[in-house]
Amino acid sequence: MGCSYFFAYVHKQVPEVLASFDFVFIKLLSRKGTPEGPFDIALVEGAITEAWQVDELKMIREQSKKLFAIGSCAVIGGIPAIKATMPELEVEKRVYKNLSSIHSIKPHAVDTYVKVDGYIRGCPPAERDLYEALTAVLTGRKPDFPEYSVCIECKLKGNTCILIAENMPCMGPVTNAGCGALCPSMNRACYSCFGPMKQTNAPALAKKFKAMGISRDDVIRKFTEFGADTIEFRKAVETYED
């Protein structure tokens, strides 16, 4: 949570952003907003976990020229989607004794329900991609988001590969770029908070982890921390189970 803390991401260019956009509906920033459109841009955060959100999402989609999913929860289901890797009722029972007022549905990314014009990935979302989305709309062009893996960023930084050289179970090879290869630069394995790169070969990395002697459960956990709701990482889990 907290992706709507817009100021956290645009604080370096607040005057420019304020001069270019009107904030019509942002609960965290303003009273008396309304979800009645039309909107030039809708930035949607969060995974969808209750049925009414689907209705609201569809309504917002209809009224918006461009809709961007922002943050890993909205883009790929994120951390909330871990719940779907377990019997959900059991998970809910661990938290509430009385479930009569709990109406959760299986957590999903925004594009499960509506067409999305672009993904501002990451947890937290990449500032650069947010600016890119906003400036692309202002200038009437297609936004250019990174469509390559964390490995590329790591190489550009000149890091030694921690997967090969230090045997750390790094998710960088299958994770979408955008963070600037943060974890490998901080001496730790990437945990894929930006989610899978589209069409990545996740099963190959799962096999590599297995060959490194990592247990089945640990490998599955790696691919379900942020990617439980994605086709790419589900494939890795399934391959491993065969």
Binding site: M1, G2, C3, K27, L28, K32, R94, I102, S104, C183
Partner: protein, 418 residues
């Protein structure tokens, strides 16, 4: 007359206040925290201990450092591991940097517009250009401290069980300390601004609860103390505090056994720890005639005092780090079966984490109680008092007052439905 404030703006997360007035008397009032629940305590079961800090960070976009630190400390307690003094220092620097970010965002962006009858900080421009620029300056500095140690300002990546995977250079921390020291004037200006805001009258006989320490403004651990004589250790938490479900809310509500509601947060910390503030913060606070108090609206002012303190303490801690070798900042520990808990002062107030772990490091039980569950009942009681005392006010004014009070408590409804 029924009033339904169907969403409270400028707070983190989703909630509404519903109230009913009949013949000039308040008949009913409910704070309904309707943000969908996320079940962290449910799906943490079956995950491994080393993933927990990264997972619980995502409970909140404002206080990830607090959730991470509390979880890490709880698990270290379970393993019987004690981190080095240097590790503790960095954890405190990170906690203070996050208190700064959180308080700044709350004071300037969430709370301030009400006092000028504006709907948002956006409407404050261009009239309050000077204040907004000051806010951005301070916020940038606070964020850069979190990023200096954590790699990024939100969801830092270097914090792990056992210590830190990387630490910055001495040159970088000296530079950062200098930057923080140069902002002392801005922090004092913020306090002055907060002291000039006209705060609605409201009495509250709440029990104020916060961590306290000997000779230290306690943040990461200490005794759990209250203004009504509570003085217990962190691991005794569940013997004194009980959390219960609320039929009309997705968030749970916590009370002190046999006593009832209480208030945690910056005002509680000031009420209990005023003497442990650094001399400059203490003096600045005394100069404006503030040493704590019972009115929950004073929480705004308490946060402003903490800003002055936190900038200074953070700079002093930065200057005191040795940073000779990264090896001093991580120690190996043995994973063993056990249970552990920890309490920290998140920016908004007291936060509790508890874990049971099996011998291979898998979580078998998790319990997290956030500040907003701690304050939930007290906030409802304060709202009732506020409405009762202002029952003749026009509806618009009454609604604004209720919203201002909710904001003054600085709740995080997202955290509360973790």
């Amino acid at each position: 007359m029924k009033i339904d404030i169907n969403y409270i703006a400028r707070v983190e997360g989703e909630s509404s206040v519903k109230l009913e007035i009949e013949e000039g008397k308040l008949k009913e009032l409910r704070l309904n925290i309707w943000e969908p629940p996320r079940f962290f305590e449910g799906f943490l079961v079956g995950r491994k201990f080393d993933e927990v800090p990264d997972i619980v960070a995502r409970i909140c976009g404002i206080c990830p450092v607090s959730h991470m630190t509390t979880a890490i400390r709880a698990m270290e307690n379970a393993f019987g591991f004690t981190p080095s003094t240097e590790v503790k220092k960095i954890r405190k620097i990170l906690a203070l940097s996050q208190i700064l970010s959180s308080h700044l965002a709350h004071l300037y962006v969430l709370a301030l517009p009400d006092f000028f009858r504006l709907n948002s900080v956006v409407e404050m421009l261009p009239r309050f250009d000077k204040e907004i620029k000051r806010f951005l300056r301070l916020k940038e500095a606070a964020n850069s401290i979190t990023a200096l140690f954590g790699g990024r300002a939100l969801h830092p990546v270097s914090m792990v069980v056992g210590g830190f995977t990387k630490v910055p250079s001495k040159a970088d921390t000296e530079k950062a300390a200098k930057e923080l020291e140069s902002l002392h004037g801005d922090a004092l200006e913020t306090l002055k601004m907060a002291s000039e805001l006209k705060c609605p009258a409201l009495e509250n006989n709440a029990e104020f609860v916060a961590l306290t320490g000997k000779g230290e403004y306690a943040i990461n651990g200490g005794m759990i103390s209250s203004t009504k004589g509570l003085d217990i250790k962190e691991h005794e938490y569940t013997s004194y505090f009980i959390e219960g479900e609320v039929p009309y809310s997705n968030a749970k509500r916590t009370i002190i056994k046999g006593r009832g509601s209480f208030m945690a947060g910056a005002l509680s910390r000031i009420n209990l720890g005023f003497d442990n503030l650094l001399p400059d913060a203490k003096k600045a606070s005394e100069d404006i005639g503030f040493k704590g108090g019972g009115n929950p609206f004073l929480n705004n002012l308490a946060q402003a005092v903490e800003l002055v303190h936190a900038f200074q303490e953070c700079a002093a801690l930065l200057r005191g780090l040795s940073l000779k070798s990264v090896k001093n900042y991580f120690a190996d520990f043995k994973v063993r079966e056990g249970a552990g808990s920890a309490v920290t002062e998140a920016p908004r107030g007291m936060l509790y984490h508890y874990y049971e772990i099996d011998r291979s490091g898998i979580i078998t039980k998790a319990n997290i109680v956030t500040l907003t569950a701690h304050n939930f009942l007290n906030l409802e009681e304060s709202l009732k008092e506020l409405v009762t005392e202002n029952i003749d006010k026009p509806e618009d004014e009454l609604i604004l007052l209720c919203e201002m009070l909710v904001r003054a408590y600085d709740p995080c409804f997202s955290c509360s439905v973790h």
